[in-house]
Symmetry: C2
Subunit: 526 residues, 2 copies
């Protein structure tokens, strides 16, 4: 029996941890997903719950030590560490910005597929590391967890939850690689754009055709990942009959990180709880030097430009183009950029390593938010009602910004032309001078804030609900354990069609026989 | 210009009414629908809103005078009055109880169809009476209503709301004649039983076939009612292009009188708010004589049997059968029955004209609720956690009780054999003696009460939300203005199929030509 050092420490922590509430086992995902989940975990901890998170010893964002959780750190071979992510993102940025010739583009694309495969293999390895460690599993069993909280963009949480026979709560926007709604709720492709399509909920015929093709491609892609990577792990630990595609939709509650002020209204399910913007909170005062800088902007106000978790560096031309455009604004600018300082940075621009984004967005002097379109930033823009100039790069960023643009609160420009023409500067100037952008964002802010329960309180309520009632079976529709064939009534439609055809055929045969008999009799008589 | 007496009085009331809040125009439905809507209106009034309801001068349940609303009473020819309803229900009861020979059954069925047609014609007449009265319409316009609140089991509210260009809130469970969910949310027939089917959300193949046939019948029936009755009214007042089937789904918020503790979990939409059981409240003390009677039951406790809005009389045999069964119980019984007192009423039974149902259900001495299966009663049983013996008759009553039976909280018996065998008595005895029935109802009660916002508060919040934001357009999915053809992507699927076939055909032709050319060359060479 192998009891790792990490799990011994965990045992100690679990035994002595002071806990009013429940025991929560967390299977998080890395990067920006973790940033917000961390906020949720702090809130859960402050309500007296005992939190244990699973991470690899070489984890990127998820720290081994925190006052509000116990970390179960597993040594694994494959890991989503900083080097891995940085390389991936550099390649990704180059690909999206179109700065590589097409042969190396194909090379990068192949690399990307390899990287995604690596990522999900790493998740499976992490799951196996836990499940293969009998002593650790005994410790975990003894801890008597109340539920598993998991981000299903990584498929490991559900396998662990099913193995430990625990209720499961998803903290979710994506499942493996697609909008999680596609996994749980009916999703008519006629008005639900697939992520990456760049379409809205009002599509032309050709857009709808493209949307369906894109859906099929995404579906196949996810099916391959599920089938090749998660299914073997699932079968090994949960028995050969276990179907990963079925169990992955079998969570008690889906805490969905979106809402319908931001997203297009669409069908949903009783166990989906919308917590979009749960991380937003009123602004705190700024650090002194920042407040001073902001105040120095006078009546023009300030533009902020944080560029997300993944972008630390841009190609020189591009960084220069951005800096030059920002320099031409009468506003002061706060730009978060970790790369080499471009020569064209203006006197109005403060380049920083990090900024208190939420506190700045809530500051009355902030006139414009130059956003890359990550979900977190977009929700914060809505919460504080700040208009947006969008410079999307990859993933869902364009689609996120498009939702704001559709509602009149943002203007999107292509980052690839930022060093070639004035479109970025013009877009910023338009959003700064046309009051409708701010008015629309303020309207969205009012709608978002006008909820009977705050998104964070909703999240806490439903997690504790699952603890109190040991699940939420009464909210899970029967659809989750039906085959597509039965679900879509294919058998029933075939049966009814056959029945109708049979009746028609029999009637036809009968009439023909009757007709012939009559004719014969007539002939005989003649 | 014709200004009716009623509308003059209304004008006066509207002008002088003291109002902190908004102006709400209400288009209610009769009978049990009204009983609960009335509770909602009282709550709205107590929050300072000014309420105007539309009724016919010969209305059955909706009173002309109330302290908390202004009634706009329109004199119309056709009306859903007491005589009309009583006759309908008598015929209905006889039909369901199977006490009429089959020829008169057909007669009754034809009558029922006539009656339903009459009912919806009466609604259309009421709508026309308002819209044709120009002076009244001027008054209504001047009142500056904030929204229309309507029960869409009658199709008049939406026509009035669209005519007055006002936001619309539905207080809803049925739309015309079907579960309102079918009108707004995707409803896979593979696990969503059609009302009247008597199926659950787990159906066998044959049940699914029957479910689909029943759905088609219901669909056609509603389409005929919409097309023959509402469409002409709609076209007359809203223009010839107006499609009633489209506008009827175009409400801002649907306050759905159900929840998923009671109903089977199923797809829903962002603008559907579940307020099932909103009318339930903690029990108040009973009137002295009732409390005395209840206390006299000792350890055995009390059985209550209120028989709903529609049943005042049963055939003699049946009433006698029920009374005899109740007499054999060791419990005390409170029976609400307006018909002739049966000879077999036992000493343990108190026959009453009316009972404080909610206060009784919340009394600790109540051991069993003999319910006919109306939605109101079923929700009250869940709220108070009282087990049920079900005697369903018509409409959705069997289906409602089935939901409780499926969850182990009720036992259903057929009312038609109540005077022929002991099944009713046995069912009551089983529910009284097997503790699992009460435990299950108590569990449902805990689940129902464990919500982040009370159902009534939810209803009030969303009505006021619609006032604050002049609608809830951001929660309305695009589906409501798409044809079924586009919605189901029929055109896209046909196009893609044609494209694939074309590619296959072209490839085939090309290969054939190539093959022939090769063969020819070979022949030539030979």
């Amino acid at each position: 029996m192998k009891l790792t050092v990490c799990s011994s420490v965990l045992l100690l922590l679990l035994t002595f941890s002071f806990c009013h509430g429940g025991n929560i086992f967390v299977f998080p995902a890395e990067g920006s997903h973790w940033i917000n989940m961390d906020i949720l975990l702090q809130a859960l901890h402050s309500r007296g719950h005992n939190i244990t998170i699973l991470r690899s010893t070489r984890s990127w964002y998820i720290k081994a030590n925190a006052s509000y959780y116990n970390a179960l750190s597993m040594p694994v071979e494959k890991s989503i560490d900083e080097t891995f992510i940085t390389n991936l993102m550099k390649a990704g940025v180059q690909f999206v910005l179109g700065t590589t010739p097409w042969l190396s583009s194909i090379n990068i694309l192949t690399k990307m597929v390899d990287i995604i495969t690596y990522l999900h293999s790493a998740v499976c390895e992490l799951v196996s590391a836990v499940l293969d460690d009998a002593a650790l599993m005994k410790t975990l069993e003894d801890t008597k967890f109340d539920l598993v909280l998991s981000d299903p963009c990584w498929g490991g949480g559900v396998i662990l939850a099913k193995y430990m026979k625990l209720p499961l709560v998803y903290y979710v926007r994506w499942q493996i690689g697609e909008d999680a709604h596609f996994g749980i709720a009916p999703s008519p492709l006629s008005y639900i754009p697939v992520t990456g399509s760049g379409f809205t909920d009002r599509m032309t015929f050709l857009q709808r055709v493209k949307n369906m093709i894109l859906y099929l491609v995404t579906y196949i892609q996810n099916d391959v990942i599920s089938g090749r990577l998660y299914q073997p792990t699932c079968a090994k630990y949960l028995g050969p009959d276990c179907d990963f595609n079925q169990i992955k939709t079998d969570a008690d509650i889906w805490l969905m990180r979106t809402d319908f002020v931001f997203d297009y209204p669409r069908p949903t399910m009783p166990n989906v709880v919308y917590i979009g913007g749960f991380q937003c909170k009123p602004a705190k005062p700024l650090p002194e030097h920042l407040e001073e800088f902001v105040q120095s902007s006078g009546e023009h106000g300030v533009v902020i430009m944080p560029m997300g978790t993944f972008v630390s560096e841009l190609p020189d031309d591009m960084a220069n183009g951005i800096a030059a455009a920002l320099a031409k604004l009468p506003q002061k600018v706060i730009w978060r950029y970790k790369g080499k300082r471009p020569a064209s940075v203006g006197n109005n621009t403060l380049v920083v390593d990090w900024m208190p984004q939420n506190d700045l967005l809530g500051h009355p002097k902030i006139k414009l938010f130059v956003a890359h379109g990550g979900t977190n930033g977009v929700h914060e823009a809505i919460y504080h009602g700040v208009p947006v100039a969008g410079l999307p790069m990859y993933f869902d960023q364009y689609d996120n910004l498009l939702r704001l643009q559709e509602r009149g609160g943002a203007k999107i420009v292509s980052i690839s032309t930022v060093d070639k023409d004035d479109s970025f500067l013009e877009a910023m100037q338009e959003v700064l001078t046309d009051p409708s952008y701010r008015e629309n964002m303020q309207r969205l802010s009012r709608l978002h804030r006008d909820q009977p329960v705050e998104p964070m309180d909703k999240a806490l309520f439903w997690i504790e609900f699952v603890m109190r009632h040991k699940g939420a079976a009464h909210l899970k529709a029967q659809s989750y354990n039906m085959s597509w064939f039965t679900y879509h009534s294919v058998d029933v439609v075939l049966f009814l069609t056959a029945a109708v055809l049979l009746v028609l055929l029999t009637s036809f045969m009968f009439i023909r026989c009757l007709f012939r008999a009559l004719c014969k009799r007539k002939v005989k008589r003649e």
